[in-house]
Symmetry: C2
Subunit: 288 residues, 2 copies
DNA sequence: GAGCAAATTCCATTGAGTGGAATTCTTTGC
DNA sequence: GCAAAGAATTCCACTCAATGGAATTTGCTC
């Protein structure tokens, strides 16, 4: 198909550069070598090298000694600005902290992004927790894990079916669940208003999650608690769910997908993190 | 100067695209309009529009309704892979959690990146804390705030002087401190082995930070506690510092700037987050 | 220290990137 | 509800920046 060919070949040099970033995203700790990057991008080494120079010039990529390349911390820092869609993260932070302090468990904020859920924030309890989404920034197909599943469950039917169709192969690949189990769990989540799947994929762990609806009534996110199985027994469970629900309701009331008030000409340079380009333009020598 | 002109003009289209990302990084919550982006990048609207299309195709940028553009969550998710230089974040997480649970306060992990310190992780105490670096991903010039200052203080002299020369204008701009205060604080931090600056910039708040040295004896990061002033009085302070020191020592012993063992051919696709490009290549329709 | 492999630079060719202009879509004011 | 203004998007011919093969340099290995 031509369409697919279009996708695979990156016609623009910008896209080639962005794919280098994507490839570097899954690089091992030490970074990647030029030849490996070039191969992964199916581009010549000369081209890859030149693109990398641009990426380095804009501070998106670091070159370590050892002739290896990796994503830079500045890049991380820039992208952190993207973690706050519709102000969700800022709105939720105090609630996450409050919940985590109350429950003494780890609480996650998951936000939908296309066919995935992304962990946008978390407030840790007193011990490390293994979760599907992994850490902040972690992505997981919609349907795997409580938070992710509860978002899927409350999507409008048409969208939900589209996501299921798209994600089923992934779920199977990951050995998470088949379509029957998924649909059962979705039905249960809808009926209960929360999700408490026990996939058993992470042994000894469990969790519950509730959806967050924006002021239009659309699911945009989920609040999720992950903990040890013994900490979600019949005694604690109902209370935990009730507390999550309460916070989710408060949060949802403050989330509108687009606030017309924001149309005023904004101060683009007022953010915490200055644009990378601006920073890179100034070199130490320039200081008089 | 020609050199500066080179910096300002973005000759390659990749760099133009990256600058769009940088500009979008400081966009307000609602996103930015095409014309504003074009102006901020000093590029024509036609070019900006075409570049944005590529950025969207690679899922680095979202176009909201309302004809606005913003950084995507996938972009955030990709960049999260960059937050773990030399495995620092993974190594530190359990220690952060342990400290935060022990002290009942918020603990930050700051890593040096050029002339800045970047907050790479944090474990929250039971109430929200205002800090210089802001949240995860926040950047601050080296010298402002305890963690940032303690990194600066323990840099090798030559590097330290370079950073000071570069950052002084910033510190003055931010009203943080002048050179005399900075050098006094640095000397004190070196003498004490920790930093406990009281800039008074964030009223009622204070903190202490200790450096983390890698196995080569170079400062690479700092552990920092931020809390209310009354929680760091003469009674608690020495204990807090001692606890931080102990964890920092354990961490440092595990951090080597480059581990030759990692040279083995790595499995680049084994990460939590698949490369964006790969994800974007698959469309719902492709599922058979 | 020689030999090898990887990274970096060079350069002539070519087609992708560019911005002005035309078109389409939105919003606003009356 | 209509018209005019303002954005966003598309088009297109020209041009210069991107390309990849080849040459050079660097760094690693034995």
């Amino acid at each position: 198909m031509k369409k697919q060919a279009d996708d695979l070949a990156a016609p623009t040099s910008l896209q080639r550069g962005l794919r280098i970033l994507a490839v570097l995203g899954s690089a091992p700790v030490g970074g990647m070598r030029l030849s490996d990057i070039a191969e992964a991008c199916t581009a010549s080494e000369a081209t890859t090298h030149r693109l990398l120079k641009s990426l380095i010039a804009e501070r998106f990529v670091d070159q370590t000694t050892e002739r290896r390349y990796r994503l830079s911390l500045d890049f991380f820092s820039l992208a952190a600005c993207a973690a706050n869609p519709d102000n969700l993260r800022d709105i939720c932070r105090p609630h996450l902290i409050h919940l985590s302090a109350t429950l003494n468990d780890t609480v996650f904020l998951l936000v939908r992004s296309g066919f995935h859920a992304v962990c946008v924030d978390r407030a840790e309890g007193p011990f490390p927790i293994r979760s599907f989404t992994g850490d902040i920034g972690g992505r997981i197909p919609l349907g795997i894990g409580q938070g992710s599943l509860v978002i899927l469950a409350f999507l409008p039917e048409e969208e939900r079916e589209e996501v299921i169709r798209f994600n089923i192969p992934r779920l199977l690949d990951m050995g998470a669940m088949d379509e029957v189990v998924l649909r059962t769990e979705i039905a249960r989540a809808v009926a209960q208003g929360y999700s408490g799947v026990e996939t058993g994929i992470i042994p000894g762990m469990t969790g519950v999650a509730v959806p967050i609806f924006d002021t239009n009534g659309r699911v945009v996110a989920a609040l999720s608690v992950g903990t040890l199985k013994e900490r979600l027994g019949p005694d604690r469970r109902p209370t935990v769910i009730e507390l999550l629900r309460r916070e989710a309701a408060i949060i949802g009331a403050r989330v509108s997908p687009f606030d017309p008030a924001l149309r005023r000409p904004a101060q683009y340079l007022g953010g915490v993190v200055a644009p990378l380009a601006a920073a890179s333009r100034v070199t130490p020598g320039d200081v008089s």
